[in-house]
Amino acid sequence: MTLLIAMSLLLSITIVAAALLAIRGSQSLAISILAAGLVSLLASVQFLLLAAPDVAMTEAAIGSGLTTFLFFFVLGRVRGGEHD
């Protein structure tokens, strides 16, 4: 039980750190997108620890997988528009 709580705390701290990395827009946008994906991935582990495997699967597949790549698609399009 204490191990579970310690793991959740560690996860929460890492999620907050990754979220801070994601919203600091000064560096490259790609790092922000990757950090946002990391937030979703860690959140899905957190859901798993909270005994909600269904939500965890949705978060991992959509939040961390598809959304990250969707952002990269859009980023590629926006970058392409800059050169025109």
């Binding site: 269904d54 790549f69 698609f73 399009r77 392409g80």
Partner: protein, 233 residues
């Protein structure tokens, strides 16, 4: 300066709200009324080993129909917005560098496995965690991998539309059959419930969830295909 002060005040207010929630929190010792109803009645009434699936597909089936409709509308709007700049035929744009050997080989190896995993997740939705939405997203990630390897690949929109609309019609049709043959809209007892924990059990839930999986997968795939087609505007 005033903006920064405002941000600090906002954060302070949020901290007050959340600390109030934290201070008043006490974990439930027993399940509350509706949770206890679901926990006690799911196995005998619905026959699904996964209570979450029983709630999503049967007890709250109408909400799921609404969610699928929202997703369909999103996919349709993405298609509508992006269809203007679509380029017909392949290879008409600038030459793209070929995908790496690692990506090509990995895609060839992984795409069938990912499709199989997605199908497994939604066929077993009534037994194990997961279901139509998760399985559909996994199916779409296989399509995403294909598009990453060859961005000029064209995926047939006619096929995607056919899968999507057939799955939607079958979903609503099974729901209407529930009114005729069983207790109400989306009642799963139009088929025998069977014994708990087997693949062919829980009445119509595996069929409904398989079609939801196909529908969600087709919707995500159409979004990805539209995005990829307009990438080289």
């Amino acid at each position: 300066m005033i903006r920064r002060l405002f941000v600090v005040l906002l954060l302070f207010g949020l901290a007050m709200v959340f600390s109030g929630l934290m201070a008043g929190y006490s974990p439930d010792e027993v399940l509350n009324l509706s949770a206890r109803y679901y926990a006690e009645h799911t196995a005998q009434d619905i026959g699904a080993a996964n209570i979450v699936t029983a709630i999503i597909v049967t007890f709250r089936g109408l909400d799921t129909l609404g969610e699928v409709t929202v997703l369909f509308l999103t996919a349709a709007i993405v298609g509508l917005v992006l269809s203007h700049g679509r380029r017909e035929g392949r290879g008409s744009g600038r030459e793209l560098p070929p995908a790496g050997e690692l990506l090509t080989t990995g895609t060839r190896l992984l795409v069938p496995l990912i499709l199989l995993l997605g199908a497994y997740v939604f066929v077993n939705g009534h037994l194990t965690p997961g279901g139509g939405f998760q399985g559909g997203a996994i199916l779409a990630s296989a399509i995403l991998l294909l598009l990453l390897t060859d961005p000029l690949r064209r995926i047939s929109h006619r096929l995607i539309t056919a899968i999507e609309s057939t799955a939607g019609l079958v979903f609503v049709g099974i729901g209407l059959l529930g009114i005729v043959l069983a207790g109400g809209f989306l009642d799963n007892r139009i088929l025998p419930i069977g014994s708990l924990g087997e693949l062919f059990s829980a009445g119509a839930i595996p069929i409904i969830y398989s079609f939801i999986g196909l529908k969600v997968g087709a919707e995500f795939s159409s979004m990805l295909a539209h995005l990829s087609e307009t990438e080289d505007l």
